[in-house]
Amino acid sequence: MDKFHSIVLPLKNKLYRFALSIVYDSAEAEDIVQDIMLKLWSKKDEWDQIENLEAYCFKATKNLSLDKLASNELRMTESIDEDKESNSITEHETPFSLISRKETQSNIYKCIEQLSENQKMVFQLREIEEMSYKEIAEALDITEDSVKVNLFRARKKIKELLSNFEG
């Protein structure tokens, strides 16, 4: 019970943003976080066996989000078109809507969309949640080297794409 309030619940918005960065739908992301919380609650007897509860939460969110993405085919590729973007993202009044008002700022979403799922997740956890390489490695169940490689490629690609947009 204490761990739920001290570790799991404070993660809710981080998990939500992480899920949102994968499924690009706020309602879907909220459902994912609720499912994860419920799942964790039902397994509270096993919490002592989980070494890193925070990493476990991120892993579970990643897996469920990717599952939902695969089943619902909620892809940002469909929203590259400005109209579609406003339909799928601004519907639930997220800051995506505020950002997409400016043409230059919406470019970043187009860039992120070009990244692989791993690059996207690593970029999200590093840039937004300011997690260390080690924390990201544990959260995504990959090596630290893999985190660095994915982040390097993600930043490189974004740099190239942003430069191209300008050109």
């Binding site: 939500y16 800051p95 230059t104 860039c111 840039e127 930043r155």
Partner: protein, 190 residues
Amino acid sequence: MDNSYIYILLDKYWKCETNADEENQLHDYFSNENIPQDLQKFIPLFSYKNSMKTNYLSPDFDYNLQKAILSSKKKTKKYIIIKIFAPALRIAVSAVLVAAMGLGIYFIAKANNKTYFAETYNDPKPAIKQATFALDKLSEALNAGEKASKETLQYINDMEIDWISIDSLMQENIELDSAISEQKVNDTNL
């Protein structure tokens, strides 16, 4: 902040050599308004964090989660009741299964219990001896019967009976008998 320092930081950033503090400095720098023309293209990258950071779950998330947890607890209670009775249920199911199997075996055995072939001896050797003796006796008896039959036939043949005349005699007797019976019928009718 010195622009040259920003270029150095940016270079480190692209190479993934910046720490969290340095990355925060970059974010702070790009949130300012006086950004050199050649760096303006990177503003969306560093403003992305601020825009994403303002993404929160809806205010009723905690309430909905609490409701979901409570409803899952109710389901768990039902499960607990079943769990409590699980040992008793297991015993009951086992007993029923054993009884069903017992009855099944009993009826099958009963149905199959008809003796198609049963041995009536305990020691096979004397049994074979006795059977051989019995078969010998039967064989002797059959041989004796055959021999007697042959002798009788030979004896009859030796008598040289005129079977044709016997047959004609027998035929005459039959005709005579039928004539007598017809006569009797006529007499009674009169």
